[in-house]
Symmetry: C2
Subunit: 142 residues, 2 copies
């Protein structure tokens, strides 16, 4: 009888420990997600819209961006791609056809990684666009 | 004796069910995070830099953006704020001083929510900037 009770107690204990550890790992994961973006540096490569300008989103998404991302190593937290749809102001032209954004930890590391590959990156531009991008370096505030 | 065994079995069962549900909710949460951004609409309010133009980031972050976000209800998935630091191209001026971005599910719902509040939003501009924003509506591709 006593043995059964001890066994019951031990098994429940193991179970609760496992359960609470699981809760904790979930909590730390949530914190990671909330914290990682704030304070990061964004490098946004913005392709302005103008008449006669073209942009091949499929090539950009499947070839160009993965190539550049591959140069950045662990400094790169994530990258995003967006496709311009319209201006948010009526009767205004579309400001940008596309924007590619690298979220990085260190700007100097980014520059050091890009410098030896700049020619390869620029040579690839003609494969998806005929417009020169505007590049914004910014800091994530929120 | 039999009663104790049944009790032990039941308690362990409850414990494992709770544990597996927790695992599942963690899994679905992870999927949400990965999936939610792709396909969302971004409305980016971009404040161009020019000489003599000013931007009060503290007011923007603590007053203006929370006010506008409050108009959007459950259509708003999240909003972000970034502060322009420099151009990514040497010897080029900073393209934007700041960008505020709303990640929304529906553009028409966004427009319907903003329309009756447009005057209040515009009247608040003078409290943090003297520049007219460029607004880009885009779709998250990746």
């Amino acid at each position: 009888m006593k043995f059964k009770l001890i066994l019951l107690f031990l098994l429940l204990n193991i179970c609760f420990v496992a359960f609470s550890q699981d809760k904790q790992s979930e909590k730390s994961q949530k914190q990671d997600i909330t914290v990682t973006e704030k304070g990061l540096i964004k490098v946004s490569i913005m392709y302005p819209y103008a008449e006669g300008k073209t942009f091949n989103m499929e090539y950009y998404e499947t070839k160009h961006m993965p190539m550049v991302a591959g140069f950045l190593g662990s400094n790169l937290v994530k990258y995003t791609i967006e496709k311009g749809l319209s201006s948010g102001i009526p009767n205004q032209p579309l400001p940008f056809m596309a924007i590619g954004t690298f979220y990085i930890k260190s700007l100097s590391e980014y520059q050091a990684a890009i410098a030896p590959n700049r020619d390869a990156i620029r040579a690839d531009f003609v494969n998806y666009t005929n417009v020169s991008p505007v590049i914004l370096v910014s800091e994530v505030i929120k």
